[in-house]
Symmetry: C2
Subunit: 340 residues, 2 copies
DNA sequence: CTGAAAGCGCTTACAG
DNA sequence: CTGAAAGCGCTTACAG
């Protein structure tokens, strides 16, 4: 391995001068700089980040606690984070978090690797695969407490996304706004008999969406059309909920709390021999990858995941520079396709 | 920050003894070990990986050159890599690679971060979004040459996945086998009039699949049913190719070279007022995430991406232990759903 | 514009 | 079973 000393010897200078050539080239006499650069080029020398980080006390590394890469929202956020981080010379270490002990370990790993800061992705969502939401929520809560105490103890810089923790700036998603955009769009398109498919988990974002749906329908004088069916917030749950809905009443439009449920709804509607959107319009939420693949292509509202990832990194870097931030939120936007 | 010296002072021992407590606890008198562990616990001490890596000359870090996280195959491979790596105490740095200069930079970053080894994911695939395959291929080739020379120069340990480079062990996907399983399954199910939807890029895996299709059809005495339509290997391309196919002939089954094309085919078939699989059976390839979301759920053949990621890490770790490997390949397997 | 010295936090290699 | 010394490759802080 080529070191800074090797370069110094070959260039007939001190290691310090080589260090300057790399970090503050403007402080060097052009001729020495040129000589050193030539030797760096020839030898293929690359500075050892461990040595640098050790002495600087900073790693130029961001840790991301994430979970299910298959969740489109996570993938979107993560892609944005990596893009902005690399652009700013930071390395991203992505740590997977499936359950409590797993998460503790991942956090520990990030600490050992001296990350400069951590971005915490929403943990609630990653527990969706568990059948008992209370257990999932309890695991999440336990970890969040642990996370908070560990971050305080090690003085870690943290930005959270859609996962408010006292003391850390959060970048929230605006689930209510998603609902608002969706229902208003349907009404604007002339629909009045609008039903809703929602998660059977009666709290948090799901409750907020359902409340908002009821509220808008009432405000618009459509109270008599209010009808909600619930199921797991996945494709099978969506299909079952839609089947239940159709057994009660055939609405002109369904607002689905997320795209997975909408995917299931599309299946159930197709199996019932009905057309989309001619017989029933389907409105999704979140803009998962699958929207383009559903038939018809799903009209939905994007959560703004890419924006959230981008802002998260920008704020983290801002904090490193001494800035402070309060909470903020990211704005959802309509994605028109073919299902409405 | 708590250091090993702090612990030593508090425990009344030398730093060396603390180091042993962490790395080779069995070599310590139980009473000293216990005393040290207690203090580590109290202080929340965590070893600094930079210092450790610097002196050990190893980082316990694996670099992964990947690209499009949205490609299900990549996400599968990456998830598997991270899982196995973490299990073995390795950290994964994922570097994004979109184009040539981007890729050079990413590789450089991995070198500066002293990765112990690199896993290279298939690069050909990530260029699919480019309209001109020759340009994409040329970019890929340029980078591969660069990659090879850099790895040789820095003596990097490399395992590639479906991207053969002389001197590095490769884990190949078996695209021909995918085709074989697909066509044989269709024939076994009683289909004889089987058409194919393929990429319009006439080389590599696409050519191999098409050749195999033709070959099996002939062997089985179904030569007269051979019919191939081509398009971009994405959903729109699949839809257009299927439309073209239907304008020529209405087969009883379509074998699609990948799931995206199958997704497009499903759209075209639905728009033509035909049912799946009653009128036309649709067979995908690769087992993308979307298979579960298509309607009907897509029957396909999995490429074996998870297995590939797992084997890649295992082999990399094996090489660190002094093992050597030749090339290998991963076995595709049937995923029966509803479209056949 | 350049350099000598000290030190970041750990481990290796040796000694006892 | 434990410790003193040296060094990994770099940068900081000072000196000139």
């Amino acid at each position: 391995m080529v070191t800074i000393e090797d370069i110094a010897r070959l260039a007939g200078t001190s290691p310090m001068t080589v260090s300057r050539a790399i970090n503050t080239p403007e402080k060097l006499k052009p001729s020495t700089l040129e000589k050193i650069n030539k030797i760096i080029e020839e030898t293929g020398y690359r500075p050892n980040m461990f040595a640098r980080s050790l002495v600087r006390g900073k790693s130029k590394t961001i840790g991301v606690l994430t979970s299910n890469l298959y969740n489109q929202v996570y993938a979107d956020i993560l892609s944005a984070i990596e893009k902005i981080a690399y652009k700013n010379g930071f390395v991203v270490i992505n740590a997977n978090v499936d359950n409590y002990s797993n998460a503790q370990q991942a956090l520990d790993m990030l600490i050992c690797n001296q990350v400069d800061g951590i971005i915490l992705l929403p943990l609630e969502m990653n527990m969706l695969h568990m059948n008992d939401y209370r257990v999932a929520l309890h695991e999440t809560d336990k970890f969040l407490k642990h996370f908070k105490s560990v971050c305080d103890r090690y003085n870690l810089t943290v930005v959270t996304i859609s996962q408010k923790i006292e003391g850390f700036p959060d970048i929230a998603f605006d689930f209510e706004k998603e609902c608002e955009i969706s229902i208003n769009y349907l009404i604007e398109k002339g629909y009045t008999d609008i039903a809703m498919l929602n998660s059977n988990y009666p709290e948090g974002l799901w409750k907020a969406k359902e409340d908002k749906y009821r509220c808008i329908m009432e405000e618009r004088g459509l109270a008599k059309h209010i009808l909600v069916c619930n199921g797991h917030a996945d494709i099978t749950g969506g299909r079952k909920a839609m089947e239940e809905l159709l057994s009660k009443h055939r609405p002109r439009a369904v607002y689905c709390a997320n795209d997975n449920m909408a995917g299931g709804a599309i299946q159930a509607i197709g199996r019932a021999g009905l057309r989309i959107p001619e017989d029933i319009a389907v409105m999704g939420n979140d803009d998962f990858y699958i929207c383009e693949y559903l038939y018809p292509r799903l009209t939905t509202v994007s959560l703004g995941a890419t924006q959230a990832g981008t802002v998260a990194v920008e704020r983290l870097l801002g904090i490193f520079e001494g800035q402070t931030y309060g909470d903020t939120s990211v704005t959802p936007f309509l994605c028109e396709r073919e299902s409405v």
